[in-house]
């Protein structure tokens, strides 16, 4: 398949089941809601070493937030429910509770509630106040700037993590420009995050390493500087490869995000140095979710 001069490989991205949650951070203004959200979703690019994958889903209008202030929706993905709960709580405690004027609310309903502010309330040292409003429990924790208002729990849902595609370009600036265009479009899709810096990862990995201590190492088949000395997957004109990783609540959400992202890359086309779109997988043996590029773009 070729779109605007860009070859779409007959391959697929392989993704895994994850657990996910969403939280809504509000603040006096969008600037401070965003600062808090950026802190909460920092160092959360990959479960390999961060414990979770997290990102900002979108900015919320005051009419969409529980307390009528500007807000930001963040999503956190982890391999299991326990890990997710721990990451959510520590990040909420260190990054939202501490952030001036912030408040924190559930962003998703499910029959599996996980603590949001339920345990953060103990920071109040006995001065915290519970309020049940509209059937939901909130905690008012006295802090130095006033009160930190937080919902007690949010929901945990089954999700999908690790959807991806690779952008193969004739130069590094062209690969990055294409990825930026893709991310801009993908951020309009609900229920997904692209957890890597700016949504783009330049150090895609393969499973395993020559070093026993490492479980993953550089994806040498897609490293352009190794074309002559490894079993490469790159043709001579490819000088740079970048990857976009997508976590989503459902396979369909990731499908949509991949479609608009790849389309944005293809819109730039061969004329802008984009040669191929490929994807990362493990032969289909590890992850139950397969995203076939040509089917998505059909």
């Amino acid at each position: 398949m070729i779109i605007n001069g860009v070859t779409i490989d007959k391959t697929f991205a392989e993704a895994f089941p994850m657990k996910a949650t969403r939280a809504i951070i509000t603040a006096q203004n969008e600037k401070w809601a965003m600062i808090s959200a950026q802190a909460m979703t920092g160092f959360a690019t990959s479960v390999i070493a961060c414990g979770c994958e997290a990102g900002i889903e979108r900015v919320l209008d005051p009419s969409e937030t529980p307390d009528g202030r500007p807000g930001v929706a963040v999503m956190i993905f982890a391999m299991g429910g326990k890990g997710l709960a721990k990451q959510l709580e520590t990040r909420a405690g260190q990054c939202v509770l501490t952030s001036p004027t912030s408040a924190l609310f559930a962003g998703i309903d499910s029959d599996k509630p996980i603590p949001l502010g339920k345990n953060l309330r103990y920071f109040g040292d006995g001065f915290q106040i519970s309020k049940v409003i509209g059937g939901k429990r909130y905690w008012r924790v006295p802090v130095m700037d006033g009160e930190f208002l937080t919902e007690a729990t949010t929901g945990q849902v089954d999700a999908v993590g690790g959807g991806n595609f690779l952008v193969l370009a004739e130069s590094q600036p062209q690969a990055l420009a294409a990825c930026e265009a893709a991310i801009e479009e993908m951020r309009k899709i609900p229920n997904v995050i692209m957890p890597f810096p700016g949504g783009v990862v330049r150090s895609g990995s393969k499973v395993g390493s020559k070093y026993k201590a490492l479980g993953a190492s550089t994806n040498d088949a897609f490293c352009p500087t190794l074309k002559g000395i490894t079993k490469t997957d790159l043709s001579p004109e490819i000088e740079s490869v970048m990857e976009i990783v997508i976590d989503g609540l459902t396979k369909e959400d990731i499908d949509k995000a991949m479609r608009v992202g790849i389309q944005a890359v293809c819109d730039l086309g061969a004329a802008n140095g984009i040669k191929r779109i490929s994807a990362g997988n493990y032969g289909g043996k590890l992850g139950p979710f397969h995203f076939h590029l040509q089917e998505i773009m059909a």
């Binding site: 529980p66 307390d67 009528g68 202030r69 408040a103 006995g126 001065f127 106040i129 519970s130 309020k131 049940v132 409003i133 509209g134 909130y138 008012r140 006033g146 009160e147 208002l149």
Partner: protein, 270 residues
Amino acid sequence: MTALTFTLKQEPAQRVDLSPLVCQNLTGLSATEIATLELYSGKRKLRADELFAIEGFDAQNIVIKNSSVKLDYIGKELSEGQITVEGDAGAYLGLSMKSGTITVNGNAGIFAACEMKKGFVQINGNTGDFLGAALPGNKMGMKGGTILVKGNAGERAGDHMRRGVILIEGDAGDYCGSRMTAGTIAVMGKTGRYTGYAMRRGTLLFWNQPGLPATFNDCGSHTLAFLPMLFASFRQLDSKFADPSTAFNRVKRYGGDMAEIGRGEVLVRI
């Protein structure tokens, strides 16, 4: 289906215990079975059809017409459905109710909605002492649900209250929120003496400055983020509390009762 309607034939000589006439008890009963239900009145037992003219079939929608202050325990332990009282209700309205809705288009007596667990009680007139409180000797009053009083409430509203919301559009008597453990009481009118007496936790929300015991301390003026959410949760009510123009988020906060653990708060609109 038409509402199951009990129309009081005449004012009873003694007080009557109406606790058997709740939706969950009457569902599935025939008209004859309902007519022969026995109701205690003083030391006598009266058949339901001696006291009431009974019409209609829908046991999930009970109407008590021509009601009197002598009809006690209306909606006791109600766990489903709706009871509408046309006229006054006696004591212990909605005692320990578990779910459902009770509406009184008149006044209610003492201990209305006391030890209520869940559901919604609306009293369109006034109500007596111990609204949403605990029965004498008990330690826990209302544990959940919402009470809306459009008129005035008597003394000791929310005594020993544990959870839930009491909304009073009119005035509240002395000892409002006394011995409260948690929950919220909002009063748009005036309040009497000893407000929040021996309060442990919970929120008293007032539109007018109350007379507070000396054991409540001024914590200053604040803008509280939870108040707009609390007021927004009242929007569905047929009440002044639903009117956005009555809402506020700027309050003077008093902490107390310091003679107790002092974790309660009185919030007064600025």
